[in-house]
Symmetry: C2
């Protein structure tokens, strides 16, 4: 059975699709037979990103790695029970279709609490959760004391992952290796950034995840979507019309590489 | 009947709750009888922000404006029809409860496409949509050509607002004044920022919204959540333990003030 990597965080805009695309392409470039499943049947950001890539390659006569993707549509069933059964089936069908020809499957979740996302979490070998460098986002992990910055209690998303881990343990005794990374971190040092680092390290022990090196706030992450490119497709001078700051590009690529290495070490585990 | 302001964008993490809190507190400080409705029954970011504010004021003996908020819980009904009826009722009850004592009601929407959010959009006098300075976010407004940056076709969220406008016109002949602002813009000039500005100005004409001055990427927006404070609660030197860069604080406040003025000009219209 393939290695299943889920990118999850019910908090919207934490960087799931952006991270998913960069890890997906990195793994493909390293020769893995990797495919993707998009569980965001409405916004389909990862699907759109790959569609843009295919169109750009066709236009420009480029041949870049192009992992296949299955987009799981939302159920139209009228009752909750029927919708859940329908979604479980769609998920399993997508997984089985891809498992036949791929050893690694990356699953991008929507930015809200859906049954489909929960079901995917329960199937994860590796769960990757990007989170904004922000106490607003951390509120989904735990209630934090506003004076001492101590962890008062776990919160919604931590509880959801806890549920998924129990579900998984019951199903096949498997474990979920949970990697959490900060995204859109300010490049310069800031007191907020230092505080969030400390809180994340505490939460890692308390909630049970690995706090892995994250990604900085960089305009380049937002520029590449229309052409379906990732940092790993660019040379150091940047294909994208001469990117003005190749130092930033080199640092950005190093950050993605460190994330991918953390993910690969999860596979060995 | 009160002035209804809806903060909406189905794309997660675009800055709805952050903008909602800052506009809400600004209006309260200007003496309006304003209250809030939180339609994000699960994450409740705006509710949490105001809870933190109340707790902080109590701890520190501060007396800051404290607008009331009603959090609309998600329906537990088993069929789609029943859930919709239930949600319409909860929405209307919240609105009527607050309308009795307030002339302005601000409604924060969740970062996903829900019936409750759509119903709220159809009741808006003024709709405020923050969007990340990013082609990933713009994909929800329109398909953009990756070479010419021309608008190819409107997309999901633009269509949703179009539907809400039709619904509103049929219901009472009313119009929705739609304000769209970019959020988390890089402080420095960048080519991506300039391009997005142009695309937004084109979309404004084509889709029918006002492109209003937005908010820059600033760590301070993320630091204030735990104590429930906003930029408007801080003096120029910053209550929050001596904020190191008061220039940035002054500019940040000017940006919020410009947004609030754009919102107030919507009320006159
Ligand atoms: N490291 C980064 N630097 C700069 N911008 C970023 C970075 N990561 C993500 N973004 C931008 O932040 C926004 C949110 O990213 P993305 O869509 O990947 O998040 P998401 O978690 O998949 O969102 P959703 O919950 O809607 O699925 C996008 O506009 C994206 O371009
Ligand atoms: N102008 C800004 N500068 C810096 N950080 C910001 C800014 N605006 C928002 N943020 C941060 O971005 C993240 C998303 O903001 P917010 O929660 O307000 O968005 P949202 O649209 O309400 O999200 P959701 O879709 O989950 O409801 C938060 O971590 C917040 O602190
Ligand atoms: Mg996404
Ligand atoms: Mg919100």
């Amino acid at each position: 059975r393939p290695w299943i990597i889920v990118i999850g965080n019910e908090k919207g805009g934490s960087g799931k699709s952006t991270s998913a695309m960069h890890v997906l392409i990195s793994l493909a470039q390293r020769g893995r037979r990797v495919a993707a499943i998009d569980l965001d049947g409405r916004q389909r950001s990862l699907t759109r990103y790959l569609e843009n890539r295919a169109a750009h390659c066709k236009d420009q006569g480029l041949s870049l790695v192009q992992p296949p993707i299955i987009t799981v549509e939302r159920s139209e069933e009228e009752t909750t029970q029927d919708a859940k059964r329908d979604e479980r089936k769609r998920f399993t069908d997508a997984l089985e279709t891809l498992a036949a020809e791929h050893d690694t499957i990356m699953i991008d979740c929507p930015g809200s609490d859906t049954y489909l996302a929960r079901y995917a979490h329960a199937h994860a070998d590796t769960l990757i959760t990007p989170v904004n460098d922000s106490f607003v986002d951390l509120d989904l992990f735990a209630r934090i004391d506003s004076d001492t910055y101590k962890v008062k209690a776990p919160s919604l998303y931590a509880e959801m992952v806890w549920e998924a881990r129990k579900w998984r343990a019951v199903a096949d005794g498997g474990q979920i290796d949970w990697l959490v990374l900060r995204n859109r971190m300010p490049v310069q040092r800031s007191r907020n950034k230092a505080r969030i680092q400390e809180v994340m390290d505490l939460l890692a022990k308390r909630i049970g995840f690995r706090h892995v090196p994250g990604l900085s706030e960089r305009v380049v992450f937002r520029e590449l979507f229309l052409k379906g490119l990732t940092l790993m497709d660019l040379s150091d001078s940047g294909i994208v019309g001469g990117l003005r700051n190749s130092m930033s590009l080199v640092s950005a690529r190093a950050e993605v590489r460190r994330l991918v290495e953390a993910v690969l070490s999860a596979e060995k585990a």
